[in-house]
């Protein structure tokens, strides 16, 4: 019983910051503090008229979409190799691919910055961010897809081949439909991570910032903070929706493959 109380208090601790977001987003005051001073939707309206924000959102969406596609593609290769094949140095190779999961993000950021700017002498653009985001999102994609691939009976594809399908069409007709929920979940998670990522994007963004970089700029100006709260509210709502879809799909995938659910994403 006391454990349950503790856990609920812990959840309140976890949710406290995001719970405040909508409160201040609808609060009619430029200062983000109590007491509140009545409701308004003007901060949301202001977002629609801020040109710079629109560009930032466009950049972030482009980066997030590309990241989700590429990291999921790489994730499928790694998860399939990991679940279905034995090959030399497997543990080392898989560990190396998963390494960005525990590497401090600033290390990824500065090392890529050096390569791109100092060594290759290229300009920074959305693509430099995409390259870095794919690197850090691929381990998450693999973690999600691993669940999907490992639950797959390896004789399933063999059965399809035995019934006349080629190796590729066996994958397309049997494996792909079974891991599809995992693929979509992986794309959604990678999208969410990329959309939110700041530490690396701050180092690698070119002249036109991403949304988190833009927000970082706003945080220094007190008068723009309510707009940040409004933007944050929308982002949180969007994240929750996307994650819920990802979770529902992941569970449906588990049910479809006929396995019992063992828990969350990681």
């Amino acid at each position: 019983m006391s454990l349950r109380v503790y856990t609920i208090i812990y959840l309140i601790f976890l949710y406290a910051p995001i719970a405040l977001l909508p409160i201040f987003a609808f609060n009619d005051a430029t200062i983000i503090a109590f007491p509140l001073s009545g409701g308004t939707t003007k901060w949301f309206a202001e977002m629609w008229t801020t040109k710079a924000l629109h560009t930032a959102v466009q950049n972030s969406l482009f980066i997030a979409v590309m990241t989700s596609l590429l990291s999921t593609l790489l994730g499928i290769c790694a998860a399939r190799a990991g679940a279905m094949y034995r090959f030399p140095m497997k543990a080392g190779i898989m560990g190396f691919i998963m390494l960005p999961l525990v590497l401090p993000e600033i290390i990824v950021a500065v090392s890529l910055l050096i390569v791109v700017v100092q060594i290759l002498d290229l300009g920074l653009s959305n693509w430099t961010i995409i390259a870095a985001h794919v690197l850090i999102c691929t381990p998450f994609s693999i973690a999600i897809l691993n669940g999907a691939f490992q639950n797959l009976d390896p004789s399933m594809e063999e059965a399809a081949m035995d019934l006349g399908e080629s190796r590729f069409s066996a994958f397309r007709l049997v494996t792909l439909p079974l891991v599809m929920p995992g693929i979509i979940a992986s794309m959604l998670i990678a999208f969410t991570i990329s959309l939110d990522e700041f530490i690396i994007a701050f180092f690698l963004s070119g002249s036109s910032p991403t949304m988190p970089v833009y927000i970082w700029g706003l945080l220094r100006f007190p008068q723009s903070l309510p707009v940040v709260m409004a933007l944050g509210t929308i982002l949180v709502a969007l994240s929750i929706i996307l994650l819920s879809i990802a979770e529902i799909l992941r569970r449906r995938g588990m049910a479809r493959a006929g396995v019992t659910d063992k828990g969350g994403f990681l």
Partner: protein, 286 residues
């Protein structure tokens, strides 16, 4: 090549492997190389030198920052893991099987929502006119707002402990889930109380998860400069802030690279030592 299982596996794993080699191994090599070079005004002097490392060793500011960073990361890790363990235990042992993934989902959601804004909101919670202070004044517990909870190391620790919570809960949960429940019944059958069963059976078997949680919180914490920047004030800056400054403000990439290497090596050394100290719990499991 494609006819054997090993060949097919290698072929399959090669795209992500090549990607990780090109965008992780090569850049890490580059940063190491850079740390032995020097910044000569606008150009980079490529003569091999240990000057950057000498400067880091000689100037007390770097040493102080590194020490503070490791201290903060250590505190964050301890706080996060200790706070997380009961939650993981509750979900694993006291939640109905079909509800577990819902609880995990609830726990992970805040983690996925805009990091920057989350950090900023802690400022709102802990600030002079923040939620905590207004709340405590309203119920009459204090008369003046508390000031020791913002713009110092405490604030950094609270915020980071919040940010890394799910990272600590999930590995511990996974380890607890793996424990065969009949082992606990066996321990009680052999005469142990519930508390002693926890210490003699549950905790040792959960140690791989605890070790994973410690590493997964400790290592990335070093790389964060957002939280110290927003929450730390003047006395709460960490090594990552200095790396960022060297690269982006002072335009001294080689010194920044050397700092990054020093930070990474210290973290890896501590993590390795930690794993070795705990290796008796990790044998034959994981």
């Amino acid at each position: 090549m494609t006819s054997t299982e090993g060949g097919r596996g290698l072929l399959m794993v090669s795209p992500p492997l090549i990607y990780a080699l090109a965008l992780l191994a090569v850049p890490l090599g580059a940063i190491l190389l850079f740390s032995f070079w020097t910044q000569d005004f606008m150009a980079v002097d490529t003569t091999f030198t240990l000057n950057n490392y000498r400067e880091i060793a000689e100037k007390p500011i770097y040493w102080a920052l590194l020490k503070r960073s490791l201290f903060v990361a250590g505190c964050v890790t301890v706080v996060t893991v200790i706070l997380a363990f009961p939650v993981a235990y509750f979900v694993s042992f006291h939640v109905r099987a079909d509800r577990k993934s819902l609880w995990l989902f609830l726990i992970t959601i805040p983690f996925w929502t805009s990091y920057l804004i989350r950090v900023f909101l802690w400022k709102v919670i802990l600030g002079y006119n923040g939620v905590v202070n207004t709340g405590l004044i309203n119920i009459g517990l204090i008369e003046e707002p508390l000031t020791f909870i913002l713009y110092n190391v405490n604030a950094v620790i609270i915020t980071l402990a919040h940010a890394f919570a799910p990272f600590a809960i999930l590995p511990i949960f996974v380890a607890l889930e793996k424990i065969d429940r009949s082992l606990l019944e066996a321990a009680q059958d052999l005469g142990e109380s519930r508390a002693m069963t926890f210490f003699r059976v549950t905790l040792p078997l959960a140690m791989p998860g605890v070790v994973a949680a410690v590493l997964i919180v400790f290592i990335p914490t070093i790389g964060d400069y957002v939280t110290p920047e927003l929450m730390g004030g003047a006395g709460g800056k960490l090594i990552a802030n200095m790396i960022q400054t060297q690269f982006l403000a002072l335009n001294n990439a080689p010194l920044g690279a050397a700092l990054a290497i020093v930070a990474m090596v210290s973290v890896s050394a501590i993590s390795l030592a930690f794993v070795l100290l705990n290796r008796r719990w990790l044998k034959g499991r994981s």
